[in-house]
C-alpha cells in the first residue's frame, strides 16, 4: 500500500513538473482553477441568497388540478397556479415557491422516487385511492393537524383515509374538483336519427342498442372511442357498469385477496356487453388505434363520445349549443346502484414526510382550497369544486343547460372511481387488453384470468 501511494505521489509530482515546463498548459490549468473557484463562489452565494427566516416551499402540480390544458399554451406567468401562489406570497412575504409540473398519470411514481431519495417536494398532488395508498409510508398523516373546519369545508375525506376505512389515517387533503364521466352527444345527429335524448334518454342496454342502431342507420358513427392511448371506455363506462352492479365495497375486497375476477359475473357481463358494441358496428372501426375520435365528434361525424366534466370547457367551446349529455345506461335491471353517475373527488394534496415546514405546507393547502381561491380557479376551469359552500350561482351554471343538469346529477347516486379503488396492477392489465377484448381477439374470461394473474403478482 505504501509503495502504491508512493507511485501515485511520484506520478503527480512528475506531472506537475512536466506541466510547469509547458507554460500554455499551466495557463489553461490556472484559468480552469479560477473558473472553478468563481462558480463555487456563485453557487455558495446563491445558496445563501435567501434571507434569514424565509421559507421556500417546493410544490409539484399536475394537469387538470392546478394546471389545465388550455393554460399550457400560455406563458407560465399567466397560469392560474402562478398567480395563486403569488397572492399567497403577497400575504406571506416570507414564503416563496419552487414549482414543478408533472402529468397526473406520473405523479405517484415521481413522488415515490423523489421521496425515497429524500428529495420529495413539500406539497404534491396525487390521485386518491390506491394511487395514494401506494405512497402512504412517504406522506405525513394529517389527523392531528386537521380541524372540524377542514372536514366541513370540502368533500372527499372518505377516499383519503387509509384503506377507505372510516377510522383510517388521513393521508391527504382532498382538492380540486369532483369530476364525473358520462356520454356526450351531438344534438343534431341524434335529432337526424329520430331520437330525443333530452326527453327520452336510453336507460337500459336494450334501449341503448336500439338508439345506436338508429344513429348508425342515419349514416353516422354511433360511438367513437380511443382504447389505445386512454382506454376511455374501460375506465369510464365498463367500470361504471361493474361498480353499479356490485357496489364499490365489493371491488375493494379484491385488494385483500380471496376473490377472483373469473368468478365475477357482473364484471364478465359488463365486458361481454362492451365487446358486443364493437361486434354490432356501434363503435368506430379503428377504436384499437384511434387518436382522433374527438376531432371526428367536433366535425359532426360521430353521435356520442365518452368524456367527463374535465373537458366541459373544451366541449362547449367546440360544440356550442349542439352539445348534450346523458348518463350511462344501466347494465342490468336491478343493480346495487341505479342510475348513477361515475366519478367524484379524485385529487388530493399530500405533505411529504421529509417536509421541513409541514405547518406552512398545510397552510398553503388550506389557502389553495379556500373559497376565494376556488372561485378564482373556477374562472379558469369549468368544474364542480369539492367545496361544500359554493352555490350554482357561484359556479355560474344556472343559465347553462348542460352544466345545470349535471349539477343536479351530482347530487344523486354516485359510483366512485373503481380504478382508484382496485389495485392498479389488474386495472392496468384490463386497460392494456381492452383493444384486443373489444375487437374480439380475446374473450372476457381470458381477460379476467390475466387480471387474476396480475392481482396475484401484486399481492405477493
Amino acid at each position: 500500500m505504501v509503495v502504491y501511494f508512493n507511485m501515485i505521489i511520484d506520478y503527480h509530482i512528475n506531472a506537475i513538473k512536466e506541466a510547469y515546463m509547458n507554460r500554455s498548459r499551466v495557463l489553461v490549468f490556472c484559468l480552469a482553477l479560477l473558473a472553478l473557484a468563481f462558480s463555487s463562489v456563485m453557487l455558495f452565494a446563491r445558496g445563501n441568497a435567501e434571507p434569514k427566516g424565509a421559507v421556500t416551499v417546493k410544490i409539484r402540480i399536475t394537469n387538470n388540478v392546478q394546471l389545465f390544458p388550455e393554460e399550457l399554451a400560455k406563458p407560465q406567468g399567466d397560469w392560474y397556479i402562478t398567480k395563486a401562489l403569488a397572492r399567497y406570497t403577497q400575504a406571506h412575504p416570507d414564503v416563496t415557491f419552487d414549482v414543478t409540473f408533472v402529468k397526473g398519470s406520473d405523479t405517484a411514481t415521481t413522488f415515490k422516487a423523489a421521496a425515497v431519495a429524500n428529495n420529495a417536494p413539500d406539497i404534491n398532488t396525487l390521485w386518491m385511492g390506491n394511487y395514494l395508498f401506494g405512497v402512504k409510508d412517504l406522506v405525513r398523516p394529517l389527523d392531528k393537524d386537521l380541524t372540524n373546519a377542514d372536514y366541513d369545508s370540502v368533500t372527499g375525506w372518505d377516499f383519503v383515509r387509509d384503506g377507505f376505512d372510516p377510522k383510517g389515517t388521513v393521508l391527504a387533503y382532498p382538492t380540486g374538483s369532483a369530476n364525473y364521466s358520462m356520454f356526450f352527444y351531438n344534438k343534431d345527429i341524434i335529432a337526424k336519427a329520430g331520437l330525443d335524448f333530452e326527453k327520452a334518454p336510453p336507460r337500459t342496454t336494450q334501449e341503448f342498442d336500439a338508439a345506436l342502431a338508429k344513429i348508425k342507420a342515419a349514416g353516422f358513427i354511433p360511438i367513437a372511442a380511443d382504447e389505445s392511448q386512454s382506454a376511455d371506455f374501460i375506465y369510464h363506462i365498463v367500470n361504471l357498469w361493474w361498480g353499479q352492479s356490485v357496489g364499490i365495497p365489493e371491488i375493494a375486497k379484491y385488494n385483500t385477496g380471496g376473490k377472483k375476477f373469473v368468478d365475477d359475473k357482473a364484471l364478465l357481463t359488463a365486458l361481454t356487453y362492451y365487446q358486443s358494441l364493437y361486434k354490432n358496428g356501434f363503435v368506430n372501426t379503428d377504436v384499437a388505434s384511434s387518436s382522433d375520435h374527438k376531432s371526428k365528434f367536433y366535425q359532426g361525424k360521430v353521435g356520442i363520445i365518452i368524456d367527463g366534466t374535465w373537458s366541459l370547457a373544451d366541449l362547449e367551446t367546440n360544440m356550442k349549443d349542439k352539445l348534450g349529455a346523458i348518463k350511462v345506461p344501466n347494465i342490468s335491471s336491478s343493480p346495487v346502484v341505479k342510475d348513477p353517475l361515475m366519478g367524484g373527488p379524485g385529487d388530493c394534496i399530500v405533505i411529504s414526510k421529509n417536509s421541513a415546514r409541514p405547518d406552512i405546507a398545510l397552510d398553503v393547502i388550506r389557502w389553495l382550497n379556500s373559497k376565494s381561491e376556488v372561485l378564482q380557479w373556477l374562472k379558469v376551469q369549468s368544474a364542480f369544486p369539492i367545496r361544500t359552500d359554493i352555490s350554482p350561482e357561484d359556479l355560474g351554471v344556472a343559465d347553462d343547460p348542460v352544466q345545470s343538469k349535471m349539477l343536479g346529477w351530482t347530487r344523486g347516486p354516485i359510483v366512485w372511481w373503481p380504478d382508484n379503488v382496485l389495485n392498479s396492477n389488474p386495472m392496468g392489465e384490463l386497460a392494456k387488453l381492452s383493444p384486443v377484448l373489444l375487437t374480439g381477439k380475446m374473450t372476457p374470461m381470458e381477460v379476467a384470468a390475466q387480471m387474476d394473474a396480475k392481482l396475484e403478482d401484486a399481492l405477493r
Binding site: M7, I8, Y11, D106, A108, T109, K112, A113, A115, V116, G134, V135, D137, L138, E227, S228, Q229, T285, D286, V287, A288, S289, S290, S291, D292, N423, S424, N425, M427, G428, E429, A431, K432, L433, P435, V436, T439, K441, M442, Q450, A453, K454, D457, A458, R460
Partner: protein, 307 residues
C-alpha cells in the same frame, strides 16, 4: 550457476520498467473506471438483487424466483419475445437499402451531395417526431389508406396500428427510415476505406463494374456488416422504446410490446412492479449477451473460413 536459467539483470530491469509504465498508464484512468463502475455497475448489481424481491420502490421483500417463474409462465413473455424477433427483420432491409444507397453515393451519381444530406436527415430528427408522423400516416384515416383507396387498393386500407402484424410492419418501416442514414454512412465509410490500388488492379485485370462490386467491394465489407448486425441486434432488444411508445404504445394488447417496453410498463405504468421489471431486465440482459456471443462466434468462423 547455470547460464541457461539465470535471467540477465538488464532483462529484469526492463520487465520492472514495463510493469511500472503499465501501472502509471492505469493510474490516470483509475478514477474514471471507478465512476463508470459506480454509474453502470452498481445499477446492474442492484437490479439483479431486486429481481428476487417484490420491490415497489419503497418496500422490498425476498420472494425467490417468483418473478422469473411468472415471467416465463406468462403468455405475454413469449409474445414479447416473438415481437422482438420479428423486429430483427428490419436488419436485412436496412443492410440492403443502405448498401444500394451507399454504392450510389460512392459512384457519385448526379446530385449525390444533396441525396447524402437528405438520406442522413432522419437520423438527426427526433424519433418522437418521426414516430408521430408514421402514426399519423398509417392511422385509419391517414394518408396511406387514402392513397391506397384512390389507386384502387381499398382492400389494403386496413387499421395498420390495430393489428399486431401490421403494427410491427409499420414500426419496422419507421426504424428503417430513421436508421438508413447511419447505415449508409457506415457502409460508405467501409467502401471508401478500400484501397484505390485494389480497385485499379481489378480494373486493369478486366473486372467490370458489377464484378468489382460483387467480388471486391461486398467481400471487403464483411467487418462493416458484422459490426452493423451486432449493433442492430443489440439495439432491437434495448433501444426501440421511443418507436413503440409513440406509434403503438405496445398495443393492441401485447401485440407490439417488446421486452424493454414491458420493463417500462411494469416499473412505471401500473402498480410499480419494480421487482418484476428487474427480473425482466435481467432476462433481457442474458438474451442480449447470448445473441451477441453467438453472432461473434459465427462471424469469427466465417472470417476464418474465408481466410
Amino acid at each position: 550457476m547455470n547460464q541457461m536459467t539465470t535471467t540477465p539483470a538488464w532483462r529484469r530491469r526492463h520487465s520492472l520498467l514495463r510493469r511500472e509504465r503499465r501501472l502509471y498508464g492505469l493510474l490516470p484512468v483509475l478514477f474514471v473506471i471507478m465512476i463508470i463502475a459506480a454509474v453502470k455497475g452498481y445499477p446492474i448489481v442492484v437490479t439483479f438483487v431486486k429481481s428476487f424481491t417484490n420491490w415497489d420502490g419503497v418496500h422490498s421483500k425476498f420472494i425467490g424466483l417468483w418473478n422469473y417463474i411468472r415471467l416465463f409462465q406468462g403468455h405475454s413473455f413469449w409474445i414479447m419475445l416473438r415481437n422482438s424477433m420479428m423486429l430483427l427483420l428490419h436488419i436485412p432491409l436496412l443492410l440492403f437499402f443502405g448498401f444500394v444507397l451507399a454504392v450510389m453515393l460512392y459512384e457519385r451519381i448526379p446530385g449525390w451531395k444533396f441525396y447524402r444530406s437528405v438520406i442522413y436527415l432522419p437520423q438527426v430528427i427526433s424519433i418522437v417526431i418521426i414516430g408521430y408522423v408514421f402514426r399519423a400516416l398509417f392511422s385509419f384515416d391517414g394518408s396511406v389508406n387514402r392513397i391506397l383507396s384512390v389507386i384502387g387498393l381499398k382492400a389494403l386500407a386496413i387499421e395498420w396500428l390495430g393489428n399486431g402484424l401490421s403494427g410491427l410492419f409499420v414500426i419496422i418501416l419507421c426504424i428503417v427510415y430513421q436508421s438508413l442514414g447511419w447505415e449508409v454512412l457506415l457502409i460508405f465509410g467501409g467502401i471508401a476505406s478500400i484501397p484505390e490500388s485494389v480497385m485499379e488492379a481489378a480494373e486493369l485485370d478486366g473486372a467490370g463494374h458489377w464484378t468489382r462490386l460483387w467480388r471486391i467491394i461486398v467481400p471487403l465489407l464483411g467487418q462493416v456488416v458484422r459490426y452493423s448486425v451486432i449493433v442492430s441486434v443489440m439495439w432491437v432488444f434495448t433501444g426501440l422504446f421511443p418507436f413503440i411508445y409513440i406509434i403503438t404504445r405496445g398495443g393492441p394488447g401485447y401485440e407490439t410490446t417488446t421486452l424493454d417496453y414491458s420493463i417500462y410498463q411494469q416499473a412505471f405504468s401500473s402498480g410499480s412492479m419494480l421487482g418484476a421489471a428487474s427480473a425482466t431486465a435481467v432476462v433481457l440482459l442474458v438474451i442480449v449477451l447470448l445473441l451477441t456471443r453467438v453472432q461473434m462466434t459465427v462471424a469469427d468462423k466465417l472470417q476464418n473460413w474465408e481466410g
